[in-house]
Amino acid sequence: MSWLDPAGLYRPGTSLVHRAPLWLRLGGLAALGVALVVLRGPWSALAVLAAVIGLAALARLPWRATLRGVLPALVTAVLVAAYQTWQRGWEVGVEVGADLLSLVLAATVVTATTRADVLLDAAVRTLRPLRRVGVDPEAVSLAISLMLRTMPALATLAGETRDAARARGLERSPRALLVPLAVRTVGRARATGEALAARGLGETPADRPVRS
């Protein structure tokens, strides 16, 4: 595992959280979001954060990898908490920082204990009623899984581009990093689109044969 691993990458297991029904995990995540808005004060925020950390422990997520994965959220939470403390006092700072961490960690627990294709199925089922207003549930769920896969892929591209700039002595030039990265990202997107078309993904199910 490397720092490129998205925080919520599925980790197989048999914990209580893994065995919980998907509706409970997703419903719990939604309920947590509402609770964090409703509950006020630093102590309740810290209590919720402790509960979510307990949930991650119950799911037996590897601590080191999980911490690396949520590191960007952790840094953001610290910065936001510091700003809020300066502007509105330590109580608000602690509450906002803890709330942000709780949500990110809880979402990580859900995706780390749920296979992407199970999430995909759930997204398709949930979005099915929206088909009447022109939403394609398969396309939306595919976009979600593409997003999960694209994060480490983009990090790899950025690393390669940075190395290329360094090799040419251009490590201090933002242009030497950003322009090729943008070009390569668009190129990767086009190639992925072509590959999706070749796999028949995004085409009308009625066009394809169904096996028993």
């Binding site: 990458l9 197989p12 796999r199 044969p209």
Partner: protein, 230 residues
């Protein structure tokens, strides 16, 4: 069976038309067909005509008896395509999920999909990597996984666009071995002349034209001569 009837591709580049593939007519019925040619010669364009990834601007392409222009989705459901860079082809977080994704359209039951995906992974020697994140696989393993995602759909034709170009010799042999065992008709775009020589028929593409079409040894020898010429 792949039938090209005066199939050509022209694109607009600035104010001028640029011909990627001159009108080409041929019928490919052999089990193994190789396309060889220099970079930019038009062989990948020709390969993409087979399942409509590149639409023709003149002429017609029929694959498995279906007109690709009017039956694109049906053709793509029966024609697998393996790209040079597997990273663009693999879209799910883990190996087993990516293979299962290929089966979403044809197998409704999630457990059945999972079982079939694992069976395909076992068949190509990746059973131990079912839960491995895709980005943590080696280049060779990624290409095998891309191939697994395609083979899972049991294609009748398999088009491979330089599938071993980015691989070392060991993985090249593994992928070549798997392609040799596939039941489907295989159209292989390659720079590997040894692999081309094992085909039943070889087409040499140069400047957007099929300039040689014949038995492998003759065609490969002709290609070598052309490449050696100043």
């Amino acid at each position: 069976m792949i039938e090209l009837d005066a199939a050509g591709v022209t694109v607009r580049s600035g104010d001028a038309d640029r011909v990627l593939l001159h009108p080409t007519t041929c019928t490919l019925t052999e089990r193994r067909v190789a396309l060889i040619g220099a970079n930019g010669s038009g062989k990948s364009t020709l390969a993409r005509l087979v399942n409509g990834l590149r639409p023709v601007t003149s002429g017609r392409v029929r694959t498995l008896g279906l007109d690709v222009a009017t039956h694109g989705p049906q053709v793509r459901a029966r024609v697998g395509f393996v790209f040079t860079d597997p990273d663009a082809q693999l879209v799910m977080p883990t190996a087993v999920e990516d293979v299962a994704l290929s089966l979403r359209a044809s197998v409704r039951d999630a457990r059945e999909r999972d079982a079939r995906a694992r069976a395909v992974l076992a068949r190509i020697g990746l059973a131990g990597h079912a839960e491995t994140p895709v980005h943590a696989l080696s280049g060779g393993q990624k290409q095998l996984l891309a191939l697994a995602g395609v083979l899972a759909t049991e294609p009748e034709i398999l088009v491979c666009d330089e599938p071993t170009t980015l691989l070392d010799l060991r993985w090249r042999r593994v992928v070549d071995g798997l392609l040799d065992e596939v039941d489907a008709q295989v159209l292989l775009v390659t720079h590997d002349l040894d692999a081309a020589a094992r085909a039943d028929r070889v087409l040499v593409v140069d400047g957007g034209r099929v300039v040689v079409d014949g038995p492998p040894l003759d065609a490969v020898a002709e290609y070598r001569d052309r490449m050696a010429a100043p």
